[in-house]
């Protein structure tokens, strides 16, 4: 059981030794924290009720791609670039008993990103990498809040041309991503707050991963052998 909460003043008496404006602001911020938590809760429920079937279908299709030796390529700008890194590391190094799967973030290599930005322009930073790495069994995941980032739209188009599974994340009403024919699954977080959008996208990414793991473990697809397992195979039988 969580212990009963104590008042701010009893927890942080030093905060009450300053100006008289501080206690009022602290209370305002405390209330605001609760309101924002309630907002994210309702937003998750809205996404659950609207997108559960789509998430499950997408996860199953991702599992089919992984079973066919496909890889996941994730990309985004700014905070979404770090979310793409998170998604890649979640698949690649999930920890516990979960199955590691090949995944790359296209937003992590400063040499590649600055070379493409400087020589051609920021609009191609992901599309060029998709062209270099992507093959038809792969999965492209583009993370955006506005849904309007030109470099994501171009990368998803390129991925679609190559026969990759294309997954998009957006906020608001989906922006230009909602008009793109090249996206197989588009998950829109129906909010106008960039922060709440990113939070619910994090949840959707984690849920896709979990459902994909479930689909892989319930299918007969052979797991890719880990180096340790390979080492146990006698040389002559390879």
């Amino acid at each position: 059981m969580t212990p009963p909460p104590r008042s701010i003043e009893s927890l942080y008496p030093f905060l009450y030794q300053g100006t008289t404006a501080v206690p009022g602001l602290l209370d305002q911020v405390r209330q605001s924290t609760i309101t924002k938590t309630a907002d994210i809760l309702s937003l998750r429920r809205a996404v659950r009720d609207a997108m559960a079937d789509q998430l499950l279908a997408c996860a199953r299709e991702m599992a089919r791609r992984f079973a066919a030796d496909g890889r996941l390529l994730a990309f985004g700008n700014g905070g979404s670039a770090t979310d793409a890194q998170q998604l890649a590391t979640l698949f690649l190094y999930p920890g516990g008993a979960s199955r590691p799967l090949p995944a790359l973030s296209l937003a992590s290599d400063a040499a590649v990103l600055t070379a493409l930005s400087n020589d051609i322009g920021v609009d191609v930073v992901f599309a060029r990498q998709v062209a270099a790495f992507g093959s038809k069994s792969d999965i492209a995941v583009g993370l955006s809040t506005s849904g309007n980032s030109e470099n994501l739209l171009r990368a998803l188009d390129e991925a679609s041309r190559r026969g990759m599974l294309t997954v998009g994340f957006a906020g608001y009403a989906g922006g230009k991503m909602a008009e793109l024919d090249s996206i197989d699954y588009l998950f829109v977080a129906p909010s106008t707050s960039v922060h709440r959008i990113q939070e619910v996208q994090t949840t959707m990414c984690n849920i896709l991963w979990e459902l994909c793991q479930d689909a892989l473990s319930s299918s007969a697809a052979p797991a890719r052998a880990t180096p340790k397992e390979q080492a146990h195979v006698p040389r002559h039988s390879r």
């Binding site: 030794q17 938590t37 700014g78 939070e199």
Partner: protein, 225 residues
Amino acid sequence: MMTQKEPASLAAGTMTAAHPAAQARVSPQVGGVFDRREQPLHDFALQAAAVAAACYEIAVRFHEGGKLVVFGTGGPSADAQHVAVEFVHPVIVGKRALPAISLTSDIATVTGIAARNGMAAIFSHQLRYLATSADIALGIDTDGNSSSVLSGLLTARELGMLTIALVGGDGGAIAACPAVGHLLITRSADPRIVRELQVTAYHMLWELVHVFLEQPGALEPEADA
């Protein structure tokens, strides 16, 4: 003097009554995965006072010229970068850009320190050379037992920095560490759920620090305090 009243749960606040996935005709497999995320969020809301106190002290440090230094290993290393860009390049037009750096982006330094001095030193070394006593240290960890994050927070405290820990699980060794000035625990045994709550928590830190910064009178120490 204001009266303090914390909610027993979010249901007492602005939220509508709970309606589990079953009522919305969502498949039990997917609905269950969503519903598992609700209680940890309710638990986090109980720490609203701690969030407010941390925001206030962060605002004071920024007001006095300090910078925010963020660090974490594994998934949280990307969160550290996310927090830094949040402060440096605000998504909301008109909000002040604030100085923040992550200690997880310079892979040459991180792997160099790890190879020669061990993983535990990757942040503490950087803090000694990149941070000052005026600064704020924010360590993010999934289970609270990362030796690198713990050691970073200890060094930060030695340097006189404000120390904030954002940890999951049961808080681990970091929650028990006296060098931590402000502790925010996102309680869940599932590291994915921990991370989701941590994203919410650091977004709130960014959003709410600005409430204090926009009232600069509140950040000046009183002569007779």
